[in-house]
């Protein structure tokens, strides 16, 4: 079965640079969630989209922005990167909103900021 695809899998950036993380949900999934997991930490919710509209927002820095496109893939744009942004970034997808559907996680993008 198709899974959530995230690209790139690994990314190394310098401080103050920008980064773009991409997420391709499972086919027919219209809802995407982004989570950030720092070293030794639990995943923290950043932002979510349902049918291309932002559905919820968590502790996402103003330096970050995200959107969901017409084909339901999503991109997380991160600017003015800081050392503390080094983390594993997960994308998860599900079908619909307001249902008891499982969030399927992608393999994550490991971002390292030097």
């Amino acid at each position: 079965a198709a899974g959530v695809i995230q690209s790139p899998r690994h990314l190394i950036k310098e401080k103050r640079e920008t980064a773009t993380l991409k997420c391709y949900p499972i086919p027919r999934h219209d809802t995407v969630y982004w989570y950030q997991q720092g070293p030794g930490q639990d995943p923290q919710f950043l932002i979510s989209f349902y049918e291309k509209m932002q559905s919820d927002k968590g502790s996402i820095p103003d330096r970050f922005s995200a959107q969901q496109f017409s084909d339901y893939h999503s991109e997380l744009n991160m600017s003015s990167l800081e050392l503390g942004d080094s983390a594993l970034y997960f994308c998860a997808s599900t079908q619909g909103w307001g249902r008891a559907n499982e969030q399927f996680f992608g393999p994550g993008t490991r971002l390292t900021v030097l």
Partner: protein, 119 residues
Amino acid sequence: AQTVTQSQPEMSVQEAETVTLSCTYDTSESDYYLFWYKQPPSRQMILVIRQEAYKQQNATENRFSVNFQKAAKSFSLKISDSQLGDAAMYFCAYRSAVRYQGGSEKLVFGKGMKLTVNP
């Protein structure tokens, strides 16, 4: 806001034995979902088991079962016949049942617990 607490940062178990991972949560909502996720060294998040709060019956998935105590806001995971492949970080997570009461569909995770399985 909802919170999830896993008070044991690490546990170990002998292969083939049983281990119980504890989790408590705090919420004012009446309907919600609880999950246990496994994160092996590959860092992939894998759903182990799910419990819907309105269901009194405890969920079971093969060797994995939960003890859901809604009044006590407790949600423990029991792993029977532990296998080497069970070694991982285990996260307890909470999610609102948005359809019935609004709110967020985000997952709120506990701090996780590292399970070691000894041969």
